[in-house]
Point group: C2
Chain length 311, copies 2
Amino acid sequence: MKKIFGVDLGGTTVKMGLFDENGEVIEKWEIITRKEEGGKLILPDIAGSIKSKMAEKSIAKEDVIGVGIGVPGPVDGKGVVYKCVNLGWGVFSVKDTLSELLDGIRVEAGNDANVAALGEMWKGGGQGHSNMVAVTLGTGVGGGIIIDGKILTGCTGAGGEIGHIHVRDGETDSCGCGNKGCLEQYASATGVNRLTRRRLAKDNKPSSLRGKDINAKVVWDAVKEGDELAIEVAEEFGEYLGKGLASVAGVVNPEVFVIGGGVSKAGDILIKYMKPHYESNVFHGSRDCKFALATLGNDAGIFGAAKLVIE
Amino acid sequence: MKKIFGVDLGGTTVKMGLFDENGEVIEKWEIITRKEEGGKLILPDIAGSIKSKMAEKSIAKEDVIGVGIGVPGPVDGKGVVYKCVNLGWGVFSVKDTLSELLDGIRVEAGNDANVAALGEMWKGGGQGHSNMVAVTLGTGVGGGIIIDGKILTGCTGAGGEIGHIHVRDGETDSCGCGNKGCLEQYASATGVNRLTRRRLAKDNKPSSLRGKDINAKVVWDAVKEGDELAIEVAEEFGEYLGKGLASVAGVVNPEVFVIGGGVSKAGDILIKYMKPHYESNVFHGSRDCKFALATLGNDAGIFGAAKLVIE
């Protein structure tokens, strides 16, 4: 059976997976991301690791359908990356460079968030759907949009950057992007901290959160225990997330939103607080859209990368 | 040279165009939309008109590449319409029904706003681009999204319904869709009236608009004449439109927005008032997006419909 390699290039480690053509994982491993010298060691390291694995498993070049790779920066439809600040990379074709290092094996490249979305569609929370929006609630808020089974890349690779949709008028803090009132300012891990900090400062309402180190897990745990102040935070979180996803649905009318990332570990309760606000802000044609949780966790990237080379 | 028919089905008239395979218009005409009997006369009327034109011009069936049609309701990727309230239509395949009436000539169908967007991409304000958002500022606010040269239909045909993106917190009036704070409530013809009426009622500031019948043209004319109150209205209009389009860009990252519809007849001045608000709300990856005015007017529909059958 033919083989595929899926590569998820992160700022610290490169996750790699060997798949058969049905998408079954044969093996997973990681290598270190060597960022020195402007990141020019990274692709040769990846190619070297793939070649070693091929030798180890006696996989001939002809038996490799291709190598897919997700990278942490904007990538256009032709596999050209437009700067990865984290890696020290400028503008060049990841697709062509890596293919050359692999003696001509076919390579396809995409943005890591988009590629992870593709993975969730293929083997995760979005299985059975081909029009889907993946939402990652982590350190920031990322997104990946899949239309008819393909990534919506956008003209400069900024398709699906839904963390920077405006959801709140009158915000005084600035987002990392420079704007004010972005979804990411409320629905990310730091966003939950911001909402909690503000709520705690507002008055002296008792709460189990007072005096604690605040993070998303602590807040959601308090919500589950019925802490009233934490519930107010969850309501506000749900309002901004619901409003933001309603805007996204108004544009692309997906079948399903698949929600992942650290903040989503709270589970279905997050959807419970978000959904009423989604419904009251969304165009009726998208009101029945489904919501699911991501299921692949950190493996979404290697699955999606493998899917890049399968039609 | 082979021929194509483009049909733009409206609530009052059906606009029709005969095109050559290069997209040059050979002839345009209209027939009445007969809505009686639940709209069941409409497609036979259209088929009859096409057959008459073929006979008149001695066009053989083999010389017709196909017939494209835009209809005023949600249409899925397979040419099935999900209710056209205006026409009395329920759910059925426009594509198959019209093709049967035309003795098997190929038919493709789409939503009218999406099809008009395709027309503007092909021969109008979006020429040269394949990733584009068309924005129609008319009685309502409509949209059509083109990704890689194809219409983004959405899973229930509600893709590109950008008029119902939330752009204002705290709105008290309800939009036609039932929500509050939709872009359409400010950026449509009635939206301009709403903003003007509210501004006039706020205080006694003198304005040439006082005592006049308000419509979008009157307001934009006053803006051009330097009327301070009208300029305040234009600023607010620009804020909501800019914010809404920034959200759209955050999702699909288009190369260009093409703005049309009655309200856009004001011309470039509309873009001037919108753009600063777009820029201050959009993710930086989409900040350099272009803005253009639609150029095909009422013909966008027949052009886009023709394009539906050309690869």
